[in-house]
């Protein structure tokens, strides 16, 4: 219960000779969990992003030029070619986010609410999908469709499809596939918290099954928008997939300009910052669309009385067709990157199925003793464990802020910076960290954070925060706050009330968010490459160094071993949860 502390404040003696009003404000500051949250958001998210973007207007501020204030960095941005690239990025973002969300919604319903036989296949592989690097997805597509690739060797005439693939259609498809597991986890989490009573109400009142599905979809709106926003932001910040698949189609995207600035000699950060600002304008569009759709509506459906859903029994024909749908989707989403991995790490000879090839594990046996594998993987695992814990803790509060019913500036503020962190490519984000934590006056204070594991963990956490928060938004948006109020009225302290009331409702989503962050951090490259402590390269840097030495087979083998290791950790975490978590924590999402 909130207390009026005004009399206490009035009795205090101002602690400095500052003007009374400011001193009063300072005296009012309390170290609350929200205060810690905002402080962290400020230092790990806002300041690094703002400092990087400020270089577009004031290169001298960060020693990146001589001018204190200029618009000259925006010159390349206002060219017609860049405008076209920006439109391309916008279109890619929209198509990828809509496609991934629509497929994820259908998959979540099939897997969680029906008895279609292939649903177990999907559940067992969802984290493998999440771990598949976009490099392997793009590589798999290439190996299938390229000239003299697998499909041509099989005698198929695929030139028209290839022309589509090596251009906007292929790029959108790969980005959609990459975004699909994330969209699925967000929507599935929310669907688990949605009881069956709403669908039953529709059916009781004569509504069709499709009408019931529509009601369910509309109750999932916050999670749908969450999924769309994050896939959109990921898509517009993509560079690797677009540059790989546009080599023939020469399809330009906005991030190309950004990387051009970074790869120049001398490096031209002001142009990259100006480009980043235009990318963020696209994020504003996404937030605007989301706010318009959700404004004034409540989606709080999760309470202590939420009834477990019933499994929908499908007819034999529908079972066959939905299972085929799942299998085809798995072949595309998981089969293609696996093929890419096999092609890159196990095929001897030309690395394709053209002729005279053999499949063996020689790259794997070789890299077991590589300096790029063991210690880097141990270090990355430790960092990922720490990062997942920090990120989930902050994301729990962030998702609560994001799902607040009251429209507030703080909500919009968090929303913008969380999406900005995704929409800005990782390398830009890491550069913002160097700008911030390598400032001479910070060093003079005795703080040498740059080049330490501590800062790397903070940067990883900030980088993971958007997706981790978004994965929890669906669930947090469903929780009825009256339950916490009731617990408090009955004498529970805040922490006890949270553990007794909220924790059981979000335990599984928290576990999934934790695993999502762990998996995403283990192979993270751009932030790792720029911020790792001297002498302690993470495994992603090891892979990069291996590939840079033209050891493509070895590099990919290390990547695959790391993915398998992440899957082992995911398996252990689920085992511990299912074996040791209190029964109440496991109730949500159970079917009758």
């Amino acid at each position: 219960m909130a207390l009026d502390t005004a009399p206490l404040v009035r009795d205090r003696v101002p602690f400095s000779s500052l003007p009374l009003t400011l001193a009063k404000k300072v005296n009012r500051i309390r170290i609350t969990p929200m205060f810690v949250f905002w402080t962290l958001i400020l230092f790990i998210l806002v300041i690094p992003i703002v400092l990087f973007l400020s270089v577009a207007f004031s290169p001298r501020l960060m020693s990146q030029g001589n001018q204190w204030f200029t618009f000259s960095s925006f010159k390349p941005v206002f060219s017609g070619a860049y405008g076209t690239a920006l439109m391309h990025s916008l279109t890619l973002g929209i198509v990828a986010s809509l496609g991934a969300t629509a497929i994820a919604l259908s998959m979540a319903w099939l897997v969680l609410r029906t008895d279609t036989p292939a649903r177990f296949l999907w559940n067992g592989t969802i984290f493998a999908l999440f771990l598949a690097p976009s490099y392997l997805i793009a590589l798999g597509w290439q190996r299938l469709f390229e000239q003299r690739g697998v499909l041509e060797i099989m005698g198929l005439h695929i030139e028209p499809i290839r022309n589509l693939l090596y251009g906007p259609v292929g790029i959108a498809l790969v980005l959609m596939v990459k975004g699909l597991p994330f969209a699925y986890l967000v929507i599935a989490n929310a669907m688990r918290g949605l009881g069956e009573e709403f669908e039953q109400a529709v059916r009781v009142h004569g509504g069709s099954r499709i009408a019931a599905f529509k009601i369910m979809a509309s109750l999932l709106t916050p999670s749908l928008f969450s999924a769309m926003a994050i896939v959109f932001a990921e898509a517009i910040s993509d560079f690797g997939v677009a540059s790989t698949l546009s080599s023939i189609g020469h399809f330009s995207v906005a991030t190309y300009q950004l990387y051009q600035g970074i790869n120049s000699i001398p490096v031209n950060f002001p142009v990259s910052a100006a480009t980043s600002i235009t990318l963020l304008s696209l994020v504003l569009l996404a937030i605007f669309a989301q706010n318009r759709a959700l404004r004034g509506r409540s989606f709080r459906t999760l309470s202590g009385r939420t009834r477990p859903a019933t499994l929908t029994r499908l007819s034999l024909f529908v079972k066959a067709s939905t299972s085929s749908y799942i299998v085809v989707l798995l072949l595309i989403t998981l089969g293609i990157p696996i093929f890419g991995a096999v092609s890159a790490s196990m095929l001897e000879g030309l690395g394709s199925l053209l002729s005279h090839y053999s499949i063996n594990f020689s790259n794997y046996t070789r890299v077991f003793h590589s300096r790029f594998l063991r210690n880097p993987l141990i270090y990355s695992t430790q960092m990922s464990l720490i990062t997942a814990t920090i990120a989930v803790a902050i994301a729990t509060i962030a998702s609560k802020v994001l799902t607040s019913i009251k429209p507030s500036k703080s909500k919009k503020f968090v929303d913008f910076f969380l999406l900005a962190a995704v929409a800005l490519p990782g390398i830009v984000f890491a550069i913002g960290y160097i700008f911030t934590y390598n400032l001479r006056f910070i060093n003079d204070l005795g703080l040498h954070l740059y080049g330490t594991s501590f800062l790397l963990a903070l940067a990883y956490s900030a980088n993971a925060l958007p997706s981790t928060s978004r994965s929890l938004v669906g669930n947090m948006g469903q929780i009825q706050e009256s339950m916490m109020d009731a617990a408090r009225v009955h004498g529970s302290k805040p922490l006890r009330a949270w553990l007794d009331v909220t924790m059981p409702l979000i335990a599984r989503p928290l576990l999934i968010a934790w695993l999502l962050t762990f998996s995403g951090t283990l192979l993270e490259l751009p932030v790792s490459e720029l911020l790792y402590p001297p002498g302690s390269p993470p495994v992603a840097v090891g892979i990069e160094l291996s590939l840079a030495g033209f050891d493509y087979g070895g590099g990919t083998a290390i990547e695959i071993l790391s993915i398998l290791w992440a899957l082992v950790v995911v398996g252990i975490a689920f085992f511990i949860f299912n074996r040791f978590a209190p029964p109440g924590w496991k109730r949500l999402g159970r079917l009758r």
Partner: protein, 352 residues
């Protein structure tokens, strides 16, 4: 609002950890003198290991990565650099750093061979540790019996759609090739016209060496213009395990450009660190440091496939003879033009 003691304690602990970790990190780096080497050279870890074992006053710490991100890191560090040594392919970055007064010149005169003398800066502002060639024409001799050996031959209709190269915006070593092309043809304009004609003749542009070589392997192209170390690695691989229909060989169309590897010292670090950095450079250029080039297995570490720059150094056994004709471009002239030329490449060659 009243706050719970637990929350307050947690918040205070978090703040303390935040504050003290930096101080602890600083203390941990006190002795021996720690020297950060930012490097994108495959055999640098071996040099570091050997150097650290050879003395106890300094400890060189490896910060490995790709050249592009490492240069971005250096630029982001700005006026508070954390690197003492930077070692990567190319010399345009070193020339740019020298021009901005960021480098401490070597305090000794390296015993360069003829190649080293031609490549080294006159003011001794950085060291040349070896050289590769940009570009080698890696071609499939099973399909292309007469590869183009002159620059203008690349534009002949018989090679239409058969030749690929890398994008200078993504592949760092490709810019020296383009700059060399312009230098060889007499002007930037002539070089641009050549590239436009090359494009009209079906030039295939891939990101970097890997994709270009793969395009050659699958027969999408019959010649890839790539860094010579990548080309040699491919020849070694298929000499050891031959495949019918694919016989990689190397030619050098026109006068290829030598691309040195440069090792530079940051002038803004403390004096003791600079002294240690000087000792490391001296070690790398010494017989002990140079012996690593020949002793390392090039099939696992292709960066040792460079032409030595120091008198008496034995090149790795896989390094072929130098191209009969080659050129050296002035990094102080061509370095500052990189940004504009790469942007032109994007707009006119990479984009439709």
């Amino acid at each position: 609002m009243r706050i719970s003691n637990i929350s307050k304690s947690l918040a205070c602990m978090a703040s303390l950890v935040f504050l003290t970790s930096g101080i602890i990190t600083q203390a941990a780096q006190a002795t021996p003198i720690s020297i950060n080497l930012y490097e994108a050279i495959g055999y640098a870890p071996d040099e570091i290991k050997a150097f650290n074992a050879s003395q106890s006053e300094y400890k060189v710490v490896d910060v490995g990565g790709s050249t592009g991100p490492l240069l971005a890191k250096v630029a982001a560090e700005g006026t508070n650099p954390q690197w003492s040594l930077f070692w990567a392919d190319g010399d345009t970055w070193a020339a740019a750093a020298d021009l901005s007064g960021q480098l401490a010149p070597l305090n000794f005169k390296p015993k360069y061979n003829l190649l080293g003398k031609r490549l080294a800066p006159k003011n001794n502002s950085f060291a040349i540790t070896g050289s590769t060639v940009m570009v080698a024409g890696l071609y499939n001799a099973a399909k292309m019996s007469k590869p183009p050996i002159a620059l203008k031959a690349l534009l002949r209709s018989e090679y239409k759609g058969q030749i690929g190269m890398n994008d200078p915006n993504i592949s760092g070593p490709t810019y020296p090739f383009i700059a060399g092309l312009m230098n060889q043809l007499g002007s930037e304009e002539a070089g641009k016209n050549f590239l436009l004609s090359f494009k009209a003749n079906g030039l295939v542009v891939n990101d970097k060496n890997g994709p270009t070589i793969h395009a050659l392997e699958i027969g999408q192209i019959n010649m890839g213009l790539v860094q010579n170390t990548a080309a040699i690695a491919e020849v070694i691989k298929f000499t050891a395990a031959p495949v019918d229909g694919f016989k990689p060989m190397i030619v050098y169309p026109g006068r290829p450009t030598l691309m040195p590897s440069s090792l530079a010292i940051d002038a803004k670090r403390p004096t003791a660190e600079i002294a240690g950095a000087q000792a490391f450079v001296k070690f790398v250029l010494s017989p002990a440091g140079q012996s690593i080039l020949a002793a390392t297995d090039a099939t696992k570490n292709s960066d040792v496939l460079c032409y030595p720059s120091i008198v008496g150094t034995t090149a790795n056994k896989y390094v072929p003879s130098m191209p009969t004709a080659y050129q050296i471009i002035n990094p102080y002239t061509w370095g500052p033009r990189q940004s504009a030329i790469s942007a032109w490449f994007t707009a006119n060659i990479r984009t439709k």
